[in-house]
Symmetry: C2
Subunit: 408 residues, 2 copies
Amino acid sequence: MTAAANVEREQHLLAAAFLSRVAEPASVPLWMFVEEHGYRAAAAAVRAGDVPAEVAACTEARRSAADPEADLSAADRNGIRLLTPADADWPHFAFAALRATGQRRVAQWRVGARARPQRGELIPPLALWVRGNAPLAAVGPRSVAVVGSRAATAYGEHIASEFSYGLAQRDVVVVSGGAYGIDAAAHRGALAAGGCSVLVSAGGLDRPYPSGHRHLYDQTAEQGLLVSERPPGSAPHRQRFLSRNRLIAALGAATLVVEAAHRSGALNSAGYARDLGRPVLAVPGPVTSAMSAGCHRLIQREEEPASLVTSVAEVLSYCGSADLVDGPGGAPLPGGSAPVRRSYDSLDAVARSVLDGFPGRGHSVTEAELSRLSGQPISKVIAALPVLQGAGLITVAREGYRLASVAS
Amino acid sequence: MTAAANVEREQHLLAAAFLSRVAEPASVPLWMFVEEHGYRAAAAAVRAGDVPAEVAACTEARRSAADPEADLSAADRNGIRLLTPADADWPHFAFAALRATGQRRVAQWRVGARARPQRGELIPPLALWVRGNAPLAAVGPRSVAVVGSRAATAYGEHIASEFSYGLAQRDVVVVSGGAYGIDAAAHRGALAAGGCSVLVSAGGLDRPYPSGHRHLYDQTAEQGLLVSERPPGSAPHRQRFLSRNRLIAALGAATLVVEAAHRSGALNSAGYARDLGRPVLAVPGPVTSAMSAGCHRLIQREEEPASLVTSVAEVLSYCGSADLVDGPGGAPLPGGSAPVRRSYDSLDAVARSVLDGFPGRGHSVTEAELSRLSGQPISKVIAALPVLQGAGLITVAREGYRLASVAS
C-alpha cells in the first residue's frame, strides 16, 4: 500500500469511527446521508453541524464530543478492528438483503407509500467493530442464526448446544448474541466442535455483557468473531439490542428459534429474518413449556409460518442448498473448502428464473434490477441469491451481484 | 311396533349379525354385495353359497358355522346391542365420508382407474355391536378422535388426559381405542370430566383387550359407549386393528395425534382421517423424544400437513365450527343442548358454495351430487358438511343430506 493510500484509508476509518459513535445504530437519516455523500464528506458535514434537520436530530448530541482517534486507539488496545464496506472482509453477501430492504423502504417513503423510515429499520450498518480470527466475509450462505430465550430450559440449552455442534461440524457458521441461555449454549456447542461462531454484541466489544461472559467472549474471539455496531466503551442499551437483532438475522442464511416465550426478543429476530426473505426455523417442545410457546406460535402463523425442524440435517437443508448437507463445505472458512458447484438443473424454478435474469458475465446487478429482469418479486430474488451463491453460480460484487466466472 | 314389524326387524338383525360374523371387517366385495341386494337377501345368498367368487372368497370359511342367534344371545347377556343403518341411532353423519370414499373407489375401479378395492378399504361397517348408554348418533361434528402410542411417555399421557378432559367439558365426544397409553389416558380424561367417550375395540366387546382394561371398558360403557365391528367372542387380530382404525378416524370430526413414534399405528389412523377429508391435528413435543417424532413428521408433511395444536381451544376450532368453542354445545348429547344455528354470513366460501348447491327443502342429495351441484371437489364437500351440520343448516338423511327445516 502506498503512503497516499494509507492516509486515504486512515481518513476513511476515522470518518467511519466518528459516524459509528455519533449516532445510534440503524439511523435511517444518517444512512441515507452517508449513501449520498460518502463517509468522509458525511462525517465532516456532521462534525460541522452542516446537515439537514433529520440528520442533525440524530447526531447533534454527540458530534462535538465524539473522538474517533480515541475510539480507534481503545479498539487497538483491545484487539478490536473497524470494518467498513471498503474492506475485503465486509460481509456484502450477508448484508445485501438489508441493503435492498432499506432502499426499498426509503423508496416507498419517497413516493408516499409508507411512513418515513426512522430508527431500527432494516438497513445495513455503516461500520462494524470486530474482534477475533475468523474473516467476517466467510459468513455467507452457510450460516445459521441461533436465537432464543435467556431464561432457557435445560431442554432448550441442550438443543441449542447440540444443534450448533452439529452445524459447526459441517462448517456452518453459528451466529448469535452474547446472552445467557440459548445464545451461550449455541456458541459453546459450535466452539466445542472446533467450529466458528459469530457473537453479535449490543455494546462495545471491550465490555462483555453480561460481564460473567468475559470468558465466552474471549473463547469466541479465539475461534470465531465478536461483532458490534457500537465503538468500545458503549453500554448495551435496550434499543441497541433491537438494532443488534437485525444484524443477527442478516448474518444468518436462516434463523433458528430454539426456545422463545410469547414475547421473547427472539421473535423479534425471527420477524427481521422474515422481512429479509430468509427462512425462519423453529424447534418444537412440550406444549406445557412456556419457553416453547413462541416457537409453536411461529409454526402456526398463517402467513409465512416458520418451518418445524427436529434435527441438524433438517436445519442444513435450509442453509443455501440441500446437497451441501453432507458435502465438502460451503463458503470458505478458516480451513474450509470452496463452495460446491451445482448444476442449473438442480435449481428450483424461482432460482432458475433469477439466474436467467443476470446480464452477461462481468456485469453486476442489484436486487432491484434482478427483480425487474427476472420478473420475480424482490423477496423471491433475495431468497434465491444465497442459493445461487452457495451453488457457486454467482458472486457478490461491490455494487450487487454478478455471474461467477466458469472454472476451467 | 306391530308384530309383523317386529319379525321384520328380527330377521334384519339376524342377517346383520350373520354378515358381521361371516367376513372380516371392511370386506369390499361383501359390502358391494349387500349394497346391491340388501341385508336379508345378501345374508341368505351367502349362507347358501350362491354368491360371486369374490364374495365367496371372503365368506366361505365361516358361512356354515356362523350362528347369529347365538351371537345375538351372547350380546344380550353382555348388555351389547347390534346397530345397523336401519337404526335411528346409526351415525350416518360420521360414516357419510366413509360411504362416499368407498363408493368413489369402487367407481374408479369399475372404470379401470385403480386396482380392485380389497380388504381394509375406507367403507362403512355393515353393522356395529355397541354397549353403553350414549346414543352413537350423537357422535357428529362435535367429536375428536384422540390417538397415539401404547408406549406413551408421561408427557403424552398427561396431554391426552388434559386435552380430553377439556374437550369433554365442552361437550365434545372423545373417540379412541382401548389400548394402554394414549387411548386409556384419553378415555380417563373425558370420563373424569363427566363427559362422553367412545371406545372402538378391534375384538368382541365381551373380551376387553388388553384384559387389564376391563374396568376402563365398564366405566366407558357407563358414561359413553363401546363399539366394535366384530361380534361377541371375537379375538382382536392384528388386521382387525387396522380396519378398526378407519372407524376411529370416521367417528372423529378431527383426529388428534398426541404421541406417535415413526411407525406408530396412530399414523395409520391419521392417514385414514386425511383420506376422509378430516383435519389431522398433532401435538408437538421434545425433538429428543422418539414418541413425538411421528407428530413432528405429520406437521412437516409437504402435502396436507397436520396442524400443530397446543391447547384445547385450538383443537375446538377444528371441531365443526369455531364459534362453538365457548358456545352452549353442539350435537345433542346426553344432557346436552341443540346445535347452534349459525348465519350464512359466518361460513367460509367453500361451505357457502356447498350450501348453495343443495336443491330445495325436502330433497336429499349425496356427496357426489353435491360435488357436481356446487362445483367443489368431493374432498371439499366432505369437509364442509360437518360445518354445515354443526351450524344447524343441514341434516343427515337416509340417502345423503338435506337442508334443515327452518325453526319457527
